[in-house]
């Protein structure tokens, strides 16, 4: 990372830690939501931005994760165990959902995953014996970890932030390992990758499974954050939103999700000054952002940097990076 970038990250990190001390509970709830959704978005960015596999199922995985925790913790399962279970369950399901990606790509894959999302919603709503159906599950407790009570808004935020930090470090590690290289190869040219000995099938499934498990882990925090989950919260609206966050932030860019989620969480709140018209304003804003930076906010910064370099060294600027 460039020195410039390093400084920005440092500033952002300090802001993230300091913020809750200046905010009212609502503000803390917002940034907690940001932290949780960022985890899910990082997962989608891995599947979509790096491995180039479009998925409209991330919202469903957040839901599966949330229900796992909401169902296990009241049964006396320690939060940490339930948290892990959510991750593993979504890893397994994500692996299976990856198989269609071995056959079809692009919009076909998008619609398969979208169908999956809706099916998950139907199961969550209809299997009342398990999920309490449309009524949802109220009051998932916030965990005590080694004596640390996270019931307070600020404590729970730090739990989310901590989890986010650890998971993004892990992702960072994976992306700089040969796996990261393999994922990029998968996105840019699967056929060539195959001829270079890359087991593209295994990497594709991995990309799906890991991305999905991150979605599940996000959900594991979502349940105790909101303390009420219902099937509707995880219908395709959420999947669309997560996709929006990744694209707006800059897909295939490590920090894209952080920025994208921040925009998607804060902008609507911010626009509520326009009273009844805030959703219109928000939708318009998103479209404008995309017109000016189709490769995402960070993509734009990337491109301008390249253009500048281009002027100097004569390397052509790149437009790709917005996934397939």
């Amino acid at each position: 990372m460039t020195r410039f970038g390093g400084i920005l990250v440092a500033i952002a990190a300090v802001t993230a830690v300091a913020a809750p001390f200046f905010l009212k509970p609502f503000g803390i709830f917002l940034i907690s939501t940001w932290a949780v959704l960022t985890i899910a978005a990082i997962g989608l960015n891995l599947t979509l931005g790096y491995a180039g596999q479009i998925s409209l199922a991330q919202g469903a995985f957040v839901g599966i994760g949330a229900y796992t925790v909401a169902l296990l913790t009241p049964a006396g399962v320690p939060f940490f165990v339930a948290f892990m279970a959510a991750g593993l369950l979504c890893f397994a399901i994500g692996w299976i959902l990856g198989y269609p990606a071995l056959r079809v790509q692009h919009h076909y894959l998008a619609f398969v995953t979208l169908a999956f999302t809706t099916l998950v919603f139907l199961v969550l709503r209809n299997e009342e014996w398990l999920t309490n159906g449309i009524y949802g599950i109220t009051g998932t407790p916030r965990p005590n970890l080694l004596g640390w009570k996270t019931s307070g808004a600020r404590d729970f935020y730090f739990l989310c932030l901590g989890t986010l930090t650890m998971l993004s470090l892990a992702t960072w590690w994976m992306l700089r390992s040969p796996w990261g290289r393999a994922f990029l190869a998968l996105r840019e040219n699967p056929i060539r990758a195959l001829s270079l000995g890359l087991d593209t099938r295994r990497y594709t499934l991995m990309a799906f499974a890991i991305g999905s498990s991150l979605g599940g882990l996000a959900g594991a925090l979502y349940a105790p954050l909101v303390q009420f989950i219902e099937p509707n919260s995880f219908s395709f609206g959420l999947s669309f939103n997560l996709l929006l966050m990744v694209i707006v932030g800059g897909s295939g860019n490590f920090f894209g999700p952080f920025v994208g989620v921040l925009i998607a969480v804060l902008l609507p709140e911010w626009l509520r000054i326009t009273q009844g018209y805030y959703l219109i304003a928000y939708a318009a804003a998103v479209m404008v952002i995309l017109v000016f930076c189709p490769t995402g906010v960070l993509g734009l910064i990337e491109r301008t940097r390249r253009l500048v370099r281009h002027k100097v060294t004569g390397t052509p600027p790149l437009t790709s990076g917005a996934g397939p």
């Binding site: 500033i11 159906g133 009420f228 920025v259």
Partner: protein, 380 residues
Amino acid sequence: MLRSVLFAPVIVTSLGLTSPVHAQSTVYIPAILELSGAGAVSGTNFRDGMLLAIDEINAKGGILGKKIDTPLLDTQSDAGTSRAQVQKVLDNKPYVIIGPVFSGSVLVDMLLTQQAEIPEIVGGEAAAITQKGNPYIFRTSFGQQFSIPKIANYMRDRIKAKTVAVLWVNNDFGKGGRDTFIKEMNSRDIRVVADISTESGQTDFSADVVKLKGATADAIFVYLNEEESARFLREAKKQGINKPLIGETTLLGQKVIDLAGEAANGVRGHVGLTIDAPIPAVQEFAARFKMRFNYACDHNGIKGYTAVYFIKHVTEKIRKFDSGAFAEAAHGMTITPKDEPGILMEATWDKNGDIDRISFLGEVVDGKQKIVKTLPKLGK
């Protein structure tokens, strides 16, 4: 990351923007409503009824000399969002909170308002809401545990039904009604021979009507939202269903009648709140509403309107803006139109925050809702 640095202050400002500097001359009574998404119809009706009341009251000098300051916060018909919005208004120390209408949202919000000890006046009708011993929750209409039994009695006493079919919309409103209904039917040993779920926003009801025709039911209980009710009634007429169609409030609402046209004729059932109630006050209100917003208000409009007058009256009784005292006083209080015209119909709030009013049995006769019988308050 650049943007996040730029946006970080926004977190703070966004709060600055959302916490109105309410001067001493106003009382802060925020409303959290379904203004977009699936619940928008109910939410906007509720909102407009509420606004009407607020303007009337403020025009007359407000409550105890303070003008009502009611920012509208949209839940997008999503529980998570509504929770966030409640959190937001709680940060600004509200006196009372109005809304939301969706029971799911109510169930999550009431956890917070209870913690903060702020009364919440909701439009939700799910039975569960008032069964959690929450001393800060108040209804503006019958909970399903009161309205559905009235339907059940109607089925037994008037229709003399031995077997019934139930058609319900598969959201928390419809499911709640359906579950209560089945319970009530069993307790009156009436057999439920068909139990059909429909999707909210469903457009084609032919399959459901076919199933209903197949079922040998003496009567059909229809528990859907407005436009779905209308679509169903049209399909039912098309396929010539000849069983009595029984509904609860919505099905007999003017909106459904307008949408379904003559297909609505012959529909009967229980009406909790209706602008067609044979009560002058209600009809005058309906007229004022129509004049201002130029559409016919439904029961949610009445809920919103009476909610505000409920707050006004209780506050004037306790003579101060004290959330705790409000909750205290409101339980077991009966408000008559004599003391408070804006309440439209005499209403009593019991110890759980459930409301008790007179209600009606109605029937749709050539495109108009006709009240055939007035049911007394349960308390009497």
